[in-house]
């Protein structure tokens, strides 16, 4: 501690460890550009979620995937995880001069961070419907074999249009509830009626386990797939825009703040790096790379990854003009 000779004001303790952010999402960057104060929404093992004036920022350990609202950082060796910061919901986080003071524990400098700004345009040309369908088959089968069915994963066997011997297990109470709701979203999308889509989406938000409920993960996956397909096919003002708006608006007040944030980003075509990579391989890549990226996706969270794959699968079916068997499963 030092005392400023010009005043009696005690200066800030100079012993706070400082770490450099390793990555910063494009939305997080815009929210941290100006000095201000945020309020901690939740503190978890690998993440600290903070609400700022312009939206939420998630401070995450750098092994967590890059995302539009994420700031990746490496903790000092003497801290086991983010909860070691001792911060609680309701606490304050200050942004000052390009640095973020995480309570009394840690200061994060933002300047060195690599920017994560996902591009909706793929590096390669999008494949034909038949190629995409083949990749979709690989993705769904991989998810059935390796995914987690505590959320909506047991709906995977109903995604592909051809009847098959695929079996992703019995439906739990959330999958049962999600089945007709997702079928309703699919049907509404097919009819293209704005009101129907909005109503179907509202009825689907906030269902299932997880800090980001399963149905939200599925909707995020769905809208990402639809938007990325349209962006790369050069389709302007397609039905994906209607779905995106319905999701962004429908999420408000109906789900957790974090999930609401993720849905808003997905509705802008901005997913985490793993979801973006999976969609890119699904639409432009070879089956082996689809399998690889699906496995990466499935490793996210507990059922979040699998639930997102459910949504990407439905969105892909919608985009290539096919129908799932969700309706028949009701």
């Amino acid at each position: 501690m030092t005392r400023d000779s010009r005043s009696d004001e005690v200066m800030v303790p100079c012993g706070r460890p400082t770490v450099a952010a390793t990555s910063i999402g494009v939305a997080a960057l815009s929210r941290l550009e100006r000095d201000g104060v945020g309020t901690i929404e939740g503190s978890y093992r690998d993440a600290l979620n903070v609400n700022f004036a312009r939206g939420m920022v998630s401070f995450v350990r750098d092994h967590v995937q890059k995302g539009p609202i994420n700031v990746g950082l490496r903790l000092p060796p003497d801290m086991l995880d983010m909860s070691s910061l001792g911060l609680k919901a309701g606490g304050e986080v200050k942004v000052r001069g390009g640095s973020v003071e995480l309570g009394g524990g840690l200061e994060v400098t933002l300047a060195p961070a690599e920017l994560y700004a996902p591009d909706t345009h793929f590096n390669k040309e999008i494949g034909s419907e038949a190629e995409i369908a083949d990749n979709l088959d690989v993705m769904v089968r991989t998810a059935i074999e390796h995914g987690n069915t505590t959320g909506l994963g047991s709906l995977l066997a109903l995604i592909l249009d051809e009847a098959s011997s695929l079996n992703s297990g019995p439906l739990n109470m959330f999958a049962l509830a999600g089945l007709r709701r997702l079928a309703r979203v699919e049907n509404a999308y097919g009819r293209g009626e704005r009101g129907d889509i909005a109503g179907a989406v509202r009825d689907c938000i906030g269902l299932g386990p997880g800090l980001t409920p399963s149905s939200d993960d599925a909707l995020a996956g769905m809208i990402l797939a639809c938007l990325l397909f349209e962006a790369n096919r050069g389709i302007e003002n397609g039905p994906a825009r209607v779905l995106a708006r319905a999701i962004e608006e429908g999420a408000i007040g109906r789900t957790t703040p974090l999930s609401q944030e993720y849905l808003a980003q997905a509705a802008r075509g901005r997913g985490g790096e793993v979801a973006m990579a999976l969609c890119e391989e699904l639409f432009t890549g070879a089956p082996a790379s689809v399998e690889r990226e699906t496995l990466r996706m499935l490793a996210l969270g507990e059922s979040s990854g699998t639930d997102t794959v459910v949504g990407i699968a439905i969105g892909t079916m919608l985009s290539i003009g096919r129908r799932t068997r969700l309706d028949g499963g009701v």
Binding site: T22, E41, G42, R45, R61, D62, H63, R74, L75, P77, D78, M79, L80, D81, S83, S84, A89, N148, T150, G151, M173, F174, A177, D203, C204, I205, G206, L207, G208, P209, G210, L211, P213, S215, G253, R254, T255, T256, P257, A288, E291, R292, L295, R296, G301, E302, S303
Partner: protein, 504 residues
């Protein structure tokens, strides 16, 4: 989610759900019978734990378990938390220059590229990396002047530190570059047993000498050992390379100013004229030649006379039906070497990794004729520990061979050292005892022959392991090549002697 999974599995719990209290979740819980005023008052930021249990005690257990799982992890004072990424690890130890990578094959290229981009050499233990990815990785490593040991590299000894599986070998003047893990182990332990030692033992990964990869890592290894002042003799080990790659390797090796011993197991290889290269037919011969070049007195590969006598006696005791050698290997290269030797002495050999594709058998199928099974192959190790660590499958197979009336002798390799089971002999001997007893009960005499690949510097202790196996009635030979020859002698008798090396 982890919590709901764990709670659902508890005795007396019919169902458990751990969800955020969104409007829809509250409705679903209510429909499932969890209507509760408290849930009704919860907000979307609140977590609800709903448990349906058979009785109060089960419910109390469930909530006690939940409390335990929700408790934050505690770090011991002074203990640093482990880094969670390569970047974090390098940040903490900026002098790090080697990355040891063992991830599922689909993700190995990405991690290896990351390490190479940081200027690190790589030991890539991962298998199931495609040939194209290996070519891409080695193009990068070569351009950067970095060593990529792998993929599918099980063994290296760098600056006397074992990477992967491997043995404690004294320091010396012999350098090894090997596309075979157990081949490296066999040669290095034989060098040690001869009283000499090694400088470096560089693994290249099993497909480095394929035509597509072209021996990039083997050539880099050769160059490194050439430049290393401590290395006086170089040994190269591989199964037969592709023809173009072989010519390239031999040409580079021929340009070495140091003596080079080449063992391309079973390959019809002639040293280029005037090259000075020394060609070895077996791993044992490679070690022997290397030791002589490094200044050892003549290293004898003669079969011990006492063992020869025991083998002849064992042959005489065979019943009419007992005709065949049955090799059960944890090391793929040793399986291969044994097939090469047995083919010369006994004729064609069946295997799940055969020299001649006509003699292919599935690994799990019953043995046929003379048979050598690589129990470290994919069909055995998918989802299971390697047979160097877990002996259960091999023990079952030993007994199966004993029950087969055509089995004359069982041939085994036993690896000691880092990564191997703490007590291989202790794991094997009960099964061997049962097998021999079974054969005896059926009126047959069964011999088990083994070589133990290890040194007394290994934690398991070579002498102790050999002693345990001898007590179980196993004939122990100092090398896989010798063990194989003895097995042939037991099965076929004196008819093999004219063709057999090591018989005085």
């Amino acid at each position: 989610m982890k919590i709901s999974n764990a709670l659902s599995k508890l005795p007396g719990v019919a169902q458990a759900a751990v969800v955020m209290a969104t409007e829809l979740n509250r409705r679903v819980l209510s429909e499932a019978g969890f209507a509760d005023a408290v849930i009704g008052q919860a907000s979307t930021s609140d977590m609800v734990v709903a448990v349906e249990a058979a009785d109060g005690a089960s419910l109390d257990s469930a909530f006690a378990e939940m409390e335990k799982m929700l408790k934050p992890s505690e770090k011991k004072p002074g203990e640093a938390s482990p880094p969670t990424s390569l970047d974090e690890a390098v940040e903490r130890r900026p002098d790090s220059n080697l990355a040891f990578i063992s991830v599922p094959g689909q993700f190995a290229k990405r991690e290896a590229m990351r390490a190479l981009s940081k200027g690190m050499d790589v030991f890539l233990f991962s298998s199931n990396v495609t040939r194209e990815e290996e070519v891409e990785l080695k193009a990068v490593s070569k351009e950067k002047g970095l060593l990529l040991m792998g993929p599918d590299c099980g063994t290296s000894i760098i600056n006397h530190k074992v990477l992967g599986f491997g043995n404690t070998i004294r320091a010396g003047t012999i350098g090894i570059v090997s596309a075979s893990g157990t081949g490296l182990q066999e040669v290095s332990t034989l060098v040690h047993k001869a009283g000499l030692g090694i400088t470096q033992a560089i693994g290249t990964g099993g497909s480095d000498l394929s035509e597509e990869v072209g021996g990039i890592t083997m050539i880099q290894g050769l160059d490194l050992l050439e430049a290393d002042a401590a290395t006086k003799v170089i040994v190269l080990i591989s199964k037969p390379p592709g023809p173009r790659t072989m010519q390239k390797i031999l040409s580079v090796a021929a340009g070495s100013k140091k003596p080079v011993v080449v063992n391309f197991l079973g390959g019809e290889v002639t040293a280029p004229k005037g090259s000075g290269l020394r060609m070895a037919g077996t791993l044992e011969e490679a070690a022997s030649i290397a030791c002589e070049l490094a200044g050892a007195k003549h290293v004898s590969a003669e079969l011990p006379s006492e063992i020869l006598s025991q083998a002849r006696v064992a042959n005489e005791r065979l019943s009419v039906s007992q005709k065949y050698v049955r090799g059960l290997f944890s090391g793929g290269t040793l399986c291969y070497e044994s097939q090469v030797i047995l083919r010369d002495l006994l004729g064609e050999v069946y295997s799940n990794a055969p020299l001649n594709p006509t003699y292919m058998v599935q690994g799990e199928a019953p043995s046929k004729g003379h048979c050598c099974i690589d129990m470290g192959s994919e069909e055995f190790v998918e989802g299971r520990p390697h047979p160097m660590i877990d002996f259960s499958l091999r023990n079952i197979r030993v007994l199966q061979e004993a029950k087969d009336a055509e089995t004359a002798v069982v041939l085994l390799d036993v690896e000691l050292g880092f990564g191997s089971n703490d007590d291989p002999a202790g794991q094997l001997s009960p099964a061997i005892g049962k097998a021999m007893d079974f054969a005896k009960g059926a009126g047959r005499s069964l011999t088990v022959v083994a070589s133990v690949i290890g040194t007394d510097g290994d934690a398991q202790g070579l002498a102790k392991q050999e002693e345990v196996l001898r007590k179980a009635g196993v004939l122990i030979l100092p090398s896989n090549a010798q063990a194989t020859r003895i097995a042939a002698l037991i099965a076929k008798g004196n008819a093999v002697l004219p063709k057999m090396a090591g018989v005085g």
